[in-house]
């Protein structure tokens, strides 16, 4: 694949990932009640499991750059996770902040490990 085509692909998939994140997180947030930012978590865990799956399936080269870097990298987000956490600290409690930080981190690690194990078995 030519370098130009690769970067065009990364850009387009980056846009698709961002739109998919917005649509899924708002859909999940609309259906969930309560204080927890479940929309962001749903996006982050699903994307992380998928990246684990690709790593387990030994995807590499341009395909990994496009799907892992372009699409999934843009789909999942660190910044919103941090902003959600800051708002939990501001409007709820430090305990809610810690639950969102530690909980998301540990669930994310479990998701990527599980995804990779599944991908390896494919």
């Amino acid at each position: 694949m030519s370098a130009l085509l690769l970067w065009v692909g990364v850009a387009l998939l980056g846009g698709v990932g961002a739109v998919a994140r917005f649509l899924l997180s708002t859909a999940v947030a609309r259906r969930s009640e309560g204080w927890f930012p479940s929309g962001t978590l749903a996006v982050n865990l699903s994307g992380t499991a998928l990246l684990g799956l690709l790593a387990g399936a030994a995807l590499h080269g341009d395909a990994l750059t496009l799907v892992g870097g372009g699409l999934i990298g843009s789909y999942t987000t660190f910044s919103t996770w941090m902003l959600d956490s800051e708002r939990l600290a501001e409007h709820h409690s430090d305990r809610a902040l810690l639950v969102n930080l530690a909980g998301s981190l540990l669930l994310g690690l479990a998701a990527v490990a599980l995804g990779r194990a599944l991908g390896g078995a494919l």
Binding site: G15, G69, S74, F78
Partner: protein
């Protein structure tokens, strides 16, 4: 803008276009940084670390400074910042550190990302509040 929102409350096409455009920029920048500064699986992942902290700072700034009406905020916040930063890559990097037996590195990377990430968001919010001209 309000007409578009009224006729299509669930998916404002212009808002989606703004998010898409921002996502292309954020995605390109993150992959560009990652490709430009490759690192070993057992080394500190500076590319991811840097884009995550910068994106967290920019998001804190943009949600405080930019109007909640219009499309600048979804473009910068959801599009650019969301796509520039990544959760999945951070987790895969942590898993690979654990694979390599680098437990202390993994713990340090996770803890530093969280503490500095939260600090970056707060700094962005604080700077935006300071710079805002109050009526």
């Amino acid at each position: 803008m309000s007409a578009a929102r009224r006729t299509q409350p669930r998916a404002d096409r212009r808002e989606l276009a703004a998010i898409f455009a921002g996502g292309t920029i954020g995605g390109l920048a993150r992959v560009g940084v990652a490709q430009g500064f490759p690192h070993a699986a057992s080394a500190w992942p500076w590319p991811t670390f840097a884009v995550n902290l910068f994106g967290a700072w920019l998001l804190g700034w943009s949600v405080t400074r930019l109007s909640s009406h219009g499309y600048a905020r979804p473009f910068v916040g959801i599009g650019v910042c969301g796509a520039l930063t990544t959760f999945a890559t951070l987790q895969l990097e942590l898993l690979r550190m654990l694979d390599a037996g680098r437990w202390a590195l993994a713990l340090a990377y996770a803890a530093t990302s969280l503490v500095a990430g939260l600090g970056a968001v707060r700094l962005g919010i604080a700077l935006a509040r300071r710079g805002r001209v109050r009526p």
